[in-house]
């Protein structure tokens, strides 16, 4: 067997097996989704083309090779080239905003010959590396708030550029990864309180303004904040700053709202009341819930799902693939899928604590946060817990960039896992 060992990546076997089984589930579901639909008069409507299935196999092979390579590259090298790599990615992100073709109203793709490539996907990898580099060095040199602020600015750059594409879902990924890594770095509680309450203030203001159309929910929230600030022991300056941040975010939200694209506003409003647009942007959310709910404990059996088959589910091979999993494989299938992701995440957290060098720890946490955010938000969207925004399910949704990036990130995690104190 040893002569075949180059086919196995080093490090944690569980994580690698999870990758492998998730890829198998993806292929199984995509085969089902790409089965032709029986149309009227015995015509077959191809629906989603079978080519999707074969292309996913192709990308899976590419992803596997990338995973093998990344898992064996010495982490030190990656640490050293993190900053130039990141600057190159930022250059690409600026480039597509200038010369990128507009596809479906957005400039997200760099087109080189037959290859459609999303720099924002690459940015997820290089952003994790560069943040790990900054925070890792700060840990080596004695921690400081300065490094946290620098990493925030580094995060703001790709987030802003991706938001301009526009791609709200992906830009939030950067924010989420940053929050996870900075938490690992050690973040003063007062700042977390400030950031958390500011977000809460913004959400409640939005609710008051756009959904309830009354001012009192936000007013009540401000009174609550005042009461909390009266009782907690903090310096007067901190209290004033906290209050200012809360009021600032609250008042800022209507301006931010105006800046959102019409379809984004519509999606968020529809989230609060899906029936307001049952055939528009609420349509996907409703149909997805129906598909999952009709799955039952064991599903409608593989290849037998009717929601999928009759094409009620738009994006059923990409962002909404989890609803097909739910419909055809049932609660047990969905639970197994989530369990595989949970294995990757929980073991990844362990390596975040156990890795020998700080760079490795931050890389592990970045990868774990990436998977946590993608899986939780994607599943929450398909089950109607969050408003619809485009975010794929890693390794499962159809798409080369997503599959490649997820595999590379798992390669990084395997790489870190092979360099722990125990190994």
């Amino acid at each position: 067997m040893t002569y075949l060992s180059f086919l196995f990546p080093p490090g944690d076997r569980w994580i690698f097996f999870a990758w492998f089984f998730l890829c198998l589930i993806s292929l199984a579901v995509l085969w089902s989704v790409t089965e032709p639909i029986h149309g009227p008069y015995n015509q077959l409507d191809p629906g989603v083309a079978k080519g999707v299935f074969y292309r996913q196999i192709f990308w899976m092979v590419i992803g596997f090779v990338a995973l093998l390579i990344v898992s064996r590259v010495p982490l030190r090298y990656l640490d050293n080239i993190a900053i130039p790599l990141f600057l190159f990615t930022v250059f690409l992100l600026v480039l597509i905003l200038v010369v990128g073709p507009r596809i479906g109203g957005a400039r997200r793709w760099l087109v080189i010959g037959p290859i459609h490539f999303q720099p924002s996907e690459l940015a997820k990898v290089t952003f994790i590396l560069v943040t790990a580099n900054i925070l890792g060095r700060a840990v080596d040199e004695g921690r400081g708030l300065v490094a946290a602020l620098v990493s925030f600015l580094v995060m703001a750059l790709p987030m802003f550029l991706v938001l301009r594409e526009p791609d709200l879902g992906t830009s939030l990924v950067f924010l989420a990864i940053w929050v996870g890594m900075v938490f690992w770095y050690g973040f003063p509680g007062i700042l977390l309180l400030g950031a958390g309450s500011a977000v809460l203030s913004a959400v409640i203001m939005f609710y008051s303004e756009s959904v309830a159309r009354e001012a009192w929910p936000w007013g009540l929230y401000v009174l609550l904040i005042l009461a909390v600030l009266y009782f907690v022991r903090l310096s007067i300056l901190s209290k004033v700053v906290l209050l200012a941040i809360n009021i600032g975010f609250g008042i800022g939200i209507p301006f931010f709202w105006d800046k959102l694209q019409g379809y984004q506003q519509e999606r968020i409003l529809t989230f609060f009341d899906p029936s307001r647009d049952a055939f528009g942007s609420g349509y996907q959310a409703i149909q997805s819930k129906v598909a999952i709910g009709s799955g039952g404990l064991f599903g409608t059996h593989y290849l037998q799902g009717t929601q999928k088959g009759l094409a009620f589910l738009p994006e059923r091979h990409t962002d909404f693939i989890f609803s097909v999993v739910g419909e055809e494989l049932g609660f047990f299938g969905a639970a197994v899928l989530l369990g595989l992701f949970l294995i990757i995440i929980l073991r990844g957290i362990d390596y975040g604590a156990a890795a020998r060098r700080p760079f490795g720890r931050f890389v592990a946490v970045g990868v774990v946060t990436y998977f946590t955010f993608h899986v939780v938000v994607n599943v929450a969207i398909t089950t109607g817990l969050l408003p619809v925004t485009g975010l794929p399910l890693p390794l499962i949704s159809y798409g080369g960039s997503n599959l490649l990036v997820s595999s590379v990130l798992l390669g990084l995690l395997l790489n870190v896992s092979s360099r722990t104190f125990e190994n």
Binding site: I37, H38, G39, P40, Y41, N42, V139, G180, F183, W184, G186, E266, S275, R276, D277, A278, F279, G280, Y283, Q287, K289, V290, A291, I292, G293, S294, G295, G296, L297, T306, Q307, L310, A311, F312, L313, P314, G326, G330, F331, A334, A335, L338, L342, I345, L346, I349, D350, G352, A353, P358, V365, V368, T372, V376, V379, A380, T383, L385
Partner: protein, 597 residues
Amino acid sequence: MAEREHLIRRGIFRTVVIILFMILVGNIFVMMVPRHSYYKDQALENRQVRFRVRAPRGLIMDRDGVILADNTYIADITVPKNSLGSDGPDSTLTRLINWFDLPPEATLARLREQKETGHRGALVLISNASMPQIAAIEERGRQLPGVRVEARPRRRYLFGELFAHVIGYVGEVVRADLDTTGDSTGYRIGDMIGKQGIESSLENLLRGGSGIKLEEVNASGRVVGRRPVWLQDVTPGKDVTLSVSLALQHRMAEAIGERTACGVAVDTRSGEVLAAYSHPAFDPNLMTVPISAEQWNTLSGNPEKPFFNRIVQATYPPASLYKPVTSLAGLANGVISTSSILEPCLGGWQFGNRYFRCWKRAGHGLVDHTQAIVQSCDTFYYQLGLRLELDQLAAAARSLGLGRVCTKVFADEASGNIPDTAWYDKRFGKGKWTRGVLLNNAIGQGEILVTPIQMAVLTARLATSGRTPDPVFVINPRSPAKLPDALPFRESDLAWVRRTMELVVSEGTGKAAKLDSIDVAGKTGTAQNPHGDDHAWFMCFAPVKNPEVAMVVIVENAGHGSSEAAPVARKWLEAYFAVGDSLPSLPAPVLVNGRGH
């Protein structure tokens, strides 16, 4: 870095992740296990859409089986019911309104009305859509979830104006219809309902029953299933055969021409109406789709009132057509004989302080009873009227069919007025009126009012000694018409009236209605019109010996019946008896395309 701190963060991170996953799994579990059946039903409902299929209305045919009203199919563009929410239209509906350049507010108000009145299926955005509109929808189908093109039968009246008043027309059910028709069973806004004439009176027969089918649809609402499941079959409306004849109706319209007039002909043996035409008329095809404001103003602004069905709605004084009635009343009550000669006519009759003129100012001199009818001498009838009691005269008129609604086909049918003592007591007060009213009543003027169809019945009953049933517009072999009560007149008196009326045509005022081969009996009349020129009346029946047909013509504001109304009758009778070169011709059907005109 302290190892302890790391362990704490690891603990927090793990806890957060596990809580998040528990929320996800818990939520999925609730959806997939306890609420599974709810979503299962939703999934089924997703695929199956109930369609209400409107039944085609029954055909309407003439007595020879020629189709007068049939159905074509038109397309409606419909949107799903929930595309119009409480806070306005959704994006698809808004897009459609912009595309088709519809007036936004009026359109939304119309859709809201459809939605509020228990409309089960989709909302009709565009009724009777044009080909470009249909093509626009079909091309963009995938971007327009739930938007459909649905075919729907539309009523077509093949001869347009010709039968406008007899057949009437259908229109869309509006909210008012739902409230008034006691059994609103099965009517929905947008359905067709008979609004006038036969369409209205035979609504329950003609409408049929709509069906309900389940069709399998895909995500954008297109039907994909091969065979629908019928929950309720469509019951087509029953066909109806009318008593009117296309050829005879056409001839009646030709004979009347552009005059404001109407004519009605009845088969004296069965009471079947052979022709009934009122002019001006309207094109009922305009009424089956929402009519444009311009067209509506043209029709409703016409001073000659095209919607007014003169055959049954208009009331006129019968004038000299009433003289046979007065004669029969006198004979029946023994106040006169068929050969009586009264005081000579010197151009009028003095009663009290008022002088009642005869139409012939020079007077008729001495006339007997027969010549009084033939020459239509008013003075003779003033004297005869004074010999009668008012109620005797009214009873004679009623026995011949006057003073009551006689067809029960038309909603606004007038009953006319045959005044008696009670009526005058009520109108003027007891003792506030004199026997002078008898002078006017005797010559069919004053407060007496009749409809043309009542006069046609009267003519037929004079011809058959009362054996003509009430007029019918529909041939129904299963329930033969009920015979009316026997007339309270002696057969010899009726025969004398018929002979006298034959003289009117052969040598009196009705010469214009004379036919070469067929004996015609008739009576002319000139109804006083306080609003303008007098109306010209003519009633007749033929053949005299063995009557088949009775007809009445009135031409408004035309002057004398002898010169204006009688020729119309002759032209029609020529067609009926197919004499000479006047074989009845058939008009070509008006071909109405899907979009109206």
